[in-house]
Symmetry: D4
Subunit: 253 residues, 8 copies
């Protein structure tokens, strides 16, 4: 239940269109709804400004479908499931026919087109193999109501590829930089812009990349100011944080 | 040379108060000034919106003093040296008499009072031993022109201490959370606010804290959305990023 | 052979209902029974108060079935096999028809209903994906004769979910807290109760969770007093230790 | 303020010996007292059954002395400061003349002799170099009102040294086992008793002990049931948890 | 070509039963035989006292079969292939019909019954899941001509199981101890005997066992004197080293 | 587009055989060609002396085929795809019929026979299981126009195998040494030659090899001068660097 | 009390030269003598063939001196204290005037010249900085009654230095190889001899040597058969194990 | 003894100016000279083209001075001691009065001005704190007879600082890149030049730099081709390898 719906509910009570009992029934679910294996946090939309997002990995196909269903019932906004398999999507679609699936970003989503896009988040990635994480970030941003500019495959070994994009970078309120291997791109981008940069290390690489550890450490030690870091492959987290920051900028761009 | 000074210089040329030759001389130093052992990036104020900051650790006392001196000469704004010893401060003060030292934050600074404070950054810390890092963050924020609210010693083992501060947290545009040991505070704070949270792990702890690794990993794996992370003990980095974010919010608070 | 059975045997000898030779034969198996690849420790029930538990992982299907069978023959109490596959259960059921399988906890068990439940152990988990470990802990507790209260999906990012359960927590003699990712829940719970807390890190997470390392380190560095930790995903170990502690409390609750 | 003092305060109000205003003044400090750099959690005695304990490492000498002083003023019970230097003790003693110092356990303490000792906690250590950690555990237990039996220098390479102590071990409600190097002692002890065992890895060792990591991992992987683990060198944590467990057993021994 | 065969060849030359040319042809292969992808070290039997052993893992099925074949042709002694799959065995058997396979130890072998067994090596293992490694060690020892005594499933949590075997242990010239999880058994055994102990950590365990790292570190930090360690799961290496040591003891037992 | 082709284009413009418009069209692709998911760096041949090489792992089959195709169209030189599966090769061959596949080195290649071979690079490997990495290095060298001498299966445990090759080693301008397990071969080779040695650790090994970490650390700590190191299993990187070095030597050998 | 002294005591009882009471008094100390902070294991000489050795690190100066004194009183054999400082030696010498100190090996010792030297142990080291560890090994061997041959500074980067020593190596019953940095020497030596090799990694090195980890991993992954490993810098452990092995060989050399 | 001196010696013998006996005496020292604690490898100049270099760390002051002295006596070329303290230099100067000390590079050296400089090695460093390592590399290069161009303080966060130096970089035969923190500079430089790049990670940084591990991993995972890596802080190794490469290029520049 989003803030708009809550306001309507209370106005309905005020105008006596909704009985106190019915309102109570709906409000009782407010803090969270207990499915036994999961407490769905319907309250989050109010508290955090965006509905709860389902992290699907580690949940059973059935659990994912049920939680997705309940969230869709309880809110009119965009609903997201990250790290979802095609099988999970299949099960969710049976309960929520308008559900969609993005195979690159591995996301289940129910879009609500009412959200206008604001500001500008720029998503850069270093290599082609970083695409799934970059798209998870970009799609999360878009579903939270942000305009997104994608700049892909601009690794530092061909530095002119990113230098050519300086103008685009300058227009963004916040830049997400996705990179595996040595994870050097955020330092270069961080030196070019005067906006916050969110660095996302990916597990792309082999050997001494240690599944993204090299990129993670590189980004944490960035010599560029204004760079903060999220977990390896955490495109969603970067997108979410970028969305919160872009929202602060309001309609400025 | 900050943007204001640059504008004045160009206006001086326009109005013929400054000769083209003298302007050229001053502009030649623009990109950077080479001291042999260091290239001072005077350009950074223009490019990044804040003068270069000296990371003093690993530099000799003399190098710190010289670089601090040159930066003070070239800019009217606030100048910062982080991780500075008292001895470095002593040498800097001889060249820049108005230099000050903050022993908790271990910073040398030359304050320029012209900067008005805007918005609100909240700096929380989990324990008393986290103070030096928290103060490094807070002071960096203030010198970049941000209003700062400090909430210290609010570790999660006494959860009511942070819950009592929910109202203050809600007023901030961005929250910095500093914690050592298990580093759990950012997750709790991240669940309470709908603003970006910057988590700073500290090396406070012993044994399996592995000099801050435990806190770092905890924060990277935070289950709260909107949390990004900087390097262990990197109060400056958190303060700088928070300043960039707060600036986006303009005068809103 | 449990303590009750041993007492009966000795009384049988005393009353001459059992010949010394037959008693000797039975007692000879006491210390352990050697299957070549395994020494079954029938003595453990006497020494530790609970029959040997089979850790099935790494054993062949046939070995699991044989050891389960022998333990069931030698004792009237509850018999447990942890980390068991369905295939292992199939083989065990052929030899022990009353065997049951719990697919969430991945346990084979032969229940003996004679055990009354005592005291109260509370099992909390942070997320839905932590269920298998939480259930392994809860089921172990129950089969050792403890009353169990389950509180699931109460991660710290929605802190009100756990604060709502303070009353339940207060009633327990010991609390087991199961969490993956940053593993912060035990610190919060440990700050709320004045009873021992056993923290179980899980391998739930990705990237810098390093298969549960982040949660493990977080729990070891907990700033809450009274928290002790078991191995990653070791629901059985937590359940067993909680059972020993709850037993000390006797019938108090 | 402990539960006994709180009861007296309320009875004083009831019998009108204490004015409501004076009571309010005292109760206002209840949740915590803010020293700026520290929030003293006077409430903890009520909530957790033992006053807040000062972890001195990382605090300044002055901070330690001030916090110790305030805790002593606010409570009649035993007050503890762990990981304290002699210098910290000196400063504390000036404010609290009855303060004592235990150089082996590195603890500052203010003893209140009113606490009777109950039950039995056994503290074993593997080697002579583990003594400081073992004594931190033992002293913590004693100050929380538990009887303590010490069994020191009983490493597994001379297994008869611990086997000789089986009887003593059997009398304890809970056993703390302190060991560095390979940390094998808790597994052996855990196999001998049917009580909870709390294992404390120490940083004693060199080379591949990696400052206690080897012992920590060994204890977490213990094949003995009923063993839980605390952080490397965390004698206080083990003592505190053991005290909570022993308290459950009441006067049984 | 073993030393016996070399002696015969030279005697054949001496007595003119073998032409110098034919002898040269055979001796030319002495240092090693180059298969392109592998240099077979036929010289090793002379230099090290045992023919080259094939480490099959990482080689193709065809490479294993060819190398096994060449070694069998060039020597009359026992020939060994470790870490072999059934498929590798199938291919080897086609070229060497008398080849055998031990599925527990995962070894291909061609036995030459001429080797008499000498001395005594004792192989202990902690748990049933350690069997494959223990058998790799035992079989290697036997094929090198050593008598072997197996003592399996004697983990330290039931310490009486190993104490019961003290007499057997005392008869061995060298003891191999195989253990996963916390790897504590070698310390206990090392304290009981006055002979060299070779510790073999196994990857048996989960979570913080980190695939055998916990056991490896435990064994390297053993407080018992006379314990040396081999790589995780390296049963062959332990068996080989034990064979060299037992050989030094000659026929003493 | 290689330097030769660029010269022809410009000469064509000079001689008016190519219109300025057509030249512009071709030059526009110079810096890179944007496929959306990838920016093909056609410029690299000019800048680095060798066309862009496709690192296939982590790309989809379709992406590999398309990028390979475009590179073949844009350049007449040798084109390489590393870490390619047979399936990727199949898709590439449909678009580029002259494509070949090397299953040991796991490379797709389009050979252009015009490149003469120069100088001498020696590729040594320690064991048979290191072949895929050694061949990746050797093939890369050859396709860059270098003569290659292979010396395989010469691990340090049979030191005479490498000492026998001293003469061959002495003829090389640069030596690549590929080794897994303890990675000691580069130190021995580095002590024998007065030429640069490039060490390639491989993931060959088990247990405490930690997927090549042991070999990597060994090589980084080599006591031999003149040894530099590349990532674990990075045969391509070693071959490429060796090619650059060998090129410096010109036709000297 | 060594086996010889025990025999004399019993013969004294048999011949009535020693009263039963006096014998009892002496035998009562047999298992161990409890100093409170340490249980001196006088029994070890009987059980393990060598008196208890004091690992001095982590003990106080006074504890070392007292334990050394008691061991000297209770046994006529050689007594050893390892990792001892000069200060510890000073305190020990006051109680045991015949005590000596070896500053390279950092050992306190009381020599008993009665032990004849037997067999041959060879101690090799890779570099000059490895000397303290090599000497700890050599001295331990000598005090246990073994003949020792030292071969120092023979690192693999100058392979001829060790190849020149092949003859000496061949005469030893067991070879100890001490090396830091990449730790490759044991693999080379292990390939040259047909005797057991004990590898001792040292913390000599910097950067990615990680205080001896690189050498440790290298040795554990040695491709040479017959190599076993002890802890980083554990010269004593290697010397002790070598002594046990050499003893098995009797007077053979 | 360098190759020139050896030639003179042999010519002296040929022309009978040097007696065979005297020549033998001198040649006997050729392979190495044994000081007991060190074997000085005088042969290395012949075998490797440069005299043995003393790695001073871990050697005693006296050992350093003696080895330095012997090397100076035996060769006319440049002699180097790395990681030397001022105290070591003092002792060396007493024996070799012409010895010099470079405090930034921490090197003792005896210069022989006869070496002409050839080719060009470029040494870049990222920050001022990387100077000691960069200077160790540069000085080593110069003493091996290479021309050196230094480009310091050009970290990637101000990317224009390195882009400005492209021309200088292009003139070098080989580029050494020294960087701490995230170690991203070698990737950027590697993308700009078509020459071999040797990357040197430094321990400059804090927190998650883990003493240079972050920079090391970053460099090993560089996405730029032609980059190889040496140990953390190993300026000498990089300089030596660069010297060997530059030598291959002959007088080309």
């Amino acid at each position: 239940m989003g803030p708009e719906e809550l306001r309507k509910l209370l106005e309905g009570v005020q105008t006596e269109q909704i009985s106190v009992d019915r309102a109570l029934e709906q409000l009782r679910r407010l803090p969270y709804e207990d499915l036994g294996y999961a407490k769905i946090d319907h309250h989050r939309h109010l508290r955090k400004g965006f509905p709860e997002v389902i992290y699907c990995q580690g949940k059973t196909v059935d659990q994912v479908a049920q939680i997705f269903h309940r969230l869709c019932q309880a809110s009119q906004g965009n609903i997201l499931g990250t790290r979802a398999t095609e099988e999970m999507f299949g099960a969710a679609k049976e309960l929520v026919p308008e559900a969609e699936y993005d195979p690159t970003a591995r996301m289940i989503l129910r879009r609500s087109d009412s959200t206008p896009r604001r500001g500008m988040v720029c998503v850069c990635s270093a290599g082609t193999a970083d695409l799934p994480v970059a798209e998870e970030a970009a799609l999360t941003c878009e579903l939270m109501g942000n305009r997104v500019e994608r700049i892909y495959d601009t690794g530092v070994a061909g530095i002119h590829r990113i230098l050519d994009q300086t103008e685009k970078l300058a227009r963004a309120n916040v830049v997400i930089v996705v990179a595996g291997m040595e994870g050097a791109l955020p330092s270069v981008v961080g030196g070019l812009v005067d906006k916050p940069v969110i660095a996302v290390p990916t597990s792309v690489g082999y050997g001494a990349s240690f599944n993204g550890l090299a990129a993670l450490l590189g980004m944490l030690n960035s010599c560029a100011s204004g760079v903060t870091v999220v977990n390896i492959d955490n495109g969603f987290g970067a997108g979410y944080a970028a969305g919160l920051i872009n929202k602060l900028a309001g309609d400025k761009q």
